[in-house]
Symmetry: D2
Subunit: 352 residues, 4 copies
């Protein structure tokens, strides 16, 4: 019953097989290999447009590199108060940008709204004493398991572009958002006005695969140097390329995401039926965030379940009372119905 994270699990067999299969003969290093070429071609086809795309090694790197390409050192980045870039990356964006300022907005359900962004921008009254508002970044699916629709993304892009800012999407769980919306990748990104995307594969079945996807080609200028300077250019790049190729082949990435999302829905429904917890947020991707009595949380841990008490500003749609825990349960591509049902049974069986 490991619901701690989608990075505690392994690699999809197809991806692993592709890695092993790439281990033959000599290949150009630093991304000049045939696997990377094919993988990037497939990615461009997927997005139905001409992209500049750069495989990197971690999600933090993808995000920080995108923000650095979009934000001058004296710039400001608006994000959610609980965004990964704000609270989970030890300030990597500040390093990669040369010291830009991240400004976290505390809004409900892990999502920024156009009004929330506009209100915060109205507070930039200090001229050059404020950072220059440069970038808006959202996470889709969000850190709270919710999903922005294409329309919501578009409305945020409109606000951002109207202020001369650019829009980035942290897509560590982009696949989960996409299958949740059932739209085309383009709809959830560049057609909605997204300028750059961190396209994540690691949480969804890859080993270490994050791709910086630049829809605004102006951002690509010098990006190869930027990636190298931040030590994100793998010498035996074929092993990233092979992952990408396998991840996209035959819609594997959509299958794994659909499965994880389905498990999360099953979990949410089970929890709801069990009646011992509140679910303050819709379950739109692969994560479930129940509010539960601390006793139940302890019971689950004692039952062998792995889950986290979620830090941060909370759901914003409900209040965590004294004695309650705001918990996160993550379903992965490996999660089984049995594991879900076992967790639900443990909840139902609590005699607290």
């Amino acid at each position: 019953m490991n619901f701690a994270s989608d990075n505690v699990v392994g690699v999809h067999p197809d991806v692993m097989a592709a890695i092993a299969a790439a281990n033959v003969g000599a290949q150009g290093s630093y991304g000049a290999d045939e696997y990377t070429a094919r993988g990037l071609d497939a990615l461009a086809e997927l997005f139905e447009t001409d992209i500049a795309a750069f495989p990197v090694l971690t999600g933090t790197a993808a995000n920080s590199l995108c923000l650095a390409a979009m934000t001058p050192s004296f710039g400001g980045v608006l994000c959610h108060a609980d965004a990964h870039v704000m609270v989970d990356e030890c300030g990597a964006p500040e390093l990669f940008t040369g010291g830009a300022k991240l400004i976290g907005l505390d809004q409900p359900a892990g999502k920024l709204t156009p009004d929330g962004i506009s209100d915060r921008l109205a507070q930039f009254v200090r001229g050059e004493h404020d950072p220059l508002p440069s970038t808006v970044t959202i996470t889709n699916a969000t850190e709270l398991g919710t999903v922005y629709t294409p329309d919501e993304v578009g409305a945020i892009a409109e606000v951002a572009h109207g202020r001369g800012m650019r829009l980035h999407v942290d897509g560590a769980r982009f696949a989960n958002a996409l299958v949740s919306q059932g739209c085309a990748p383009a709809d959830l990104t560049w057609r909605a006005g997204v300028d750059a995307l961190s396209f994540g594969g690691t949480k969804n079945g890859a080993m270490a695969l994050e791709v910086v996807v630049l829809f605004d080609r102006a951002l690509a200028e010098g990006f190869a140097h930027r990636r190298m300077k931040t030590a994100q250019l793998l010498s035996k790049g074929r092993f990233l390329g092979a992952q990408l190729e396998a991840y996209l082949a035959d819609g594997l990435w959509l299958d794994t995401a659909r499965h994880a999302n389905a498990m999360a829905r099953r979990l949410a429904e089970g929890l709801d039926a069990a009646g011992r917890v509140r679910l303050p947020l819709p379950t739109q991707a692969n994560e479930v965030f129940p509010i539960m009595p601390a006793g139940l949380f302890a019971h689950l841990e004692a039952s062998g379940a792995h889950l986290y008490e979620w830090p941060g500003v909370g759901p914003g749609t409900d209040v965590i009372a004294e004695g309650e825990v705001f918990a996160r349960l993550v379903c992965a591509w490996t999660t089984t119905s049995e594991q879900v049902d076992e967790l639900v049974a443990a909840v139902a069986g609590w005699d607290g």
Copy 2:
């Protein structure tokens, strides 16, 4: 006949098998997995001392992180003019250190000498207008295929420590240096006064494995944060741990290095016998640097050989004449006698 680099080849089967074998069940993420624990234990045992060690994803990252731990933003780093940190990392050390100054010394055979370092330090006469001399970094085996002996390392450490500086070794080809010297890992590092080592595995049979090894434990303070902030902490860390474990098991890393070195010696001897090139440097590791007529270089390329004209300050022990090329030929753990002999035959067969 691919002698372009030791990173154009693949991964040793034992390492690949270990990666695949690690792909079972849930494991703690971010390095909190059993493979990493065992791999780091094996590394500590190897070095016969209590080390702080941190797997990272690229050699540039390992070097830059070491330098950042050793050098304040206002510090200076002495290195060879052709050092990888100086000319091949797009200024990553400058980024990771917050702007420290790298100062390249042009000395023969890719090696710094104690006197060369002392002479350069004597030029620090500008007080705070100069950077604060903080770190000496050497590469072993060097970028020119030569190797520092334990005594040579020790003499450099003595100069550095005498000035309150620390000593780093870029060990992207540490295994090649080690088997060349036939000494213990400790002899070539901490017993000789080395404070930090970039322990490289990628060029010698791993997929993506570089380990920051800190002998001076004071450098470990906050290092986990430092690695995270630079986006070098892999979420599915087990796959680094598994590589490390397999790389060290049963001396695999020494076997692959011995093989590559032996191929380089065979190549050097063959070239020497062929009589069409000059070898300005001893072949002490897995690289051979002949000076050859440009026509021969073109002939080799036309014959299907992959090799580089080597940029930089030159061997320092011989002069490249007009019409000559200073070439680099790298042998890898995959290089075969047949490939070597084929290359030598191509040289011998040149009718230039």
Copy 3:
């Protein structure tokens, strides 16, 4: 009626005279002059201890340099949500520290409390994904015209030191805080546990004089380089030294601060008596923060008064209603009773 800021006014005649008097003959550059030597001696005497002190050119530089000396690039700095370092310096601390994370706490009256700091520190549960808590910085007098007592400073220092963090004081208005408390400079700084102080003179009668004062001498290591690297070392340093000397001579700095504080008290009392505004904060230094109807604010501006609507998180002790303005009025060393009375009369005379 210019109450816009204490930096819209000029330089005290004594300081200006000292600058002019220093303009004779040759002097060592970069601070190696007799004026600087005497000024720094006077400063050390004032603080009754052995300090390391470095004149710099702007308050932002003093703060950012202090924070950089106290905080590694991967560190975190706790400050008030409205602190100058957080909202008025365009991210200079992030630049100078190499990307450290500033974390603003929204607490009443512009002041941090030990409990507020402890509560926030309790949220550092993410290990290396969080920045390393390194520094607490407070402003005294605060951005809201309130003042920390020595005991309050001491209590904060205790919390900080208990967590291995250091305490910095932004003393852009240190003189105003000091005369407000009527204690010795040492009492409000190192005796209370302060590790570093930005000692400000510019707002209180100097031309451009901020001094980094390091009580924790370990912070002084390399600090001269740090100042140079950030372009804060004045070549004709005598003109900073002369300012410092004159600023401290015969308690000039205390006189100017006492005057400004007295004018602020007169203003607060006048406003209180006029009965058209609320004063949500005590007037402890040289700034007054009335809440007033927007109509009155407009009336004052129309009457020729210069003042600001104050952005930020508000006083925390009262609520700004729709149609109200939270205003800041700053008294300087040049402010006269007549100017104060004129402003009060304008308030009283409003027919809104």
Copy 4:
């Protein structure tokens, strides 16, 4: 006999008088004052074009800010091996640019040549492993007292622009270069292709006055923020504005530069006539660089003269023999004929 530097002397009386005269009443802070407005207007008129200009506090800041506006973090800057930005600024350019790489070229007489630049650029063969060649910076007058002609500047600009790079001029001694050439300021800058200039006043009679002059207006985007973030925005900005206004008024800055240059010529001629030294470089600005026996150098110091043994790569036009000293003698706007003659007499009087 202080020939140590042009920053050991004081401020021209006219500049000092202007500073004192500006000390009346309230003025907008942070550069929004009437003095700054008039000073910048005068500067634009001087350059006969529409410039974006930003007063800052030190020459290191002006240089580093210019380079930061022209060079991405992953960029490279070509400069002379002895350039101030390379050897005298403790790596400030690396900090301000976010880690760009400065590459010093060792060429004669402190001057870069188009061919020297082209040759170095031809060595950028490593793709993204090299920094992206972004900026060429020259110093005029140079660190060795020589001067680039408009044609020489233009030829360098052509090479730089041809490679998509920009050209910066460190004009710490721009006035000395200008009067040496006897041309218009525009001829030596934007008409010759210069994109940005550090316009220095401090060494030539001001107190602390350096102005970033951007001819390429694209560089001005966000520059106000950039200046603020680097802590170079003076709150009582009127005192910079007043210096600038006085410095330019009635050609004061040209008069002081002409005087200093004339004194240097007198010194060079005197030294030449005295016959005890070699002058390996033409005296084109306000500095003289004799090669002299170490005994004579010691004799001069014993005679009370202040001068420096000049570190660095040497004149490139002559060889410093064992027992010889390469010395620098700087004439300032305050230097008198008597001081010059006294120094020459001391040379002539040496009985070594």
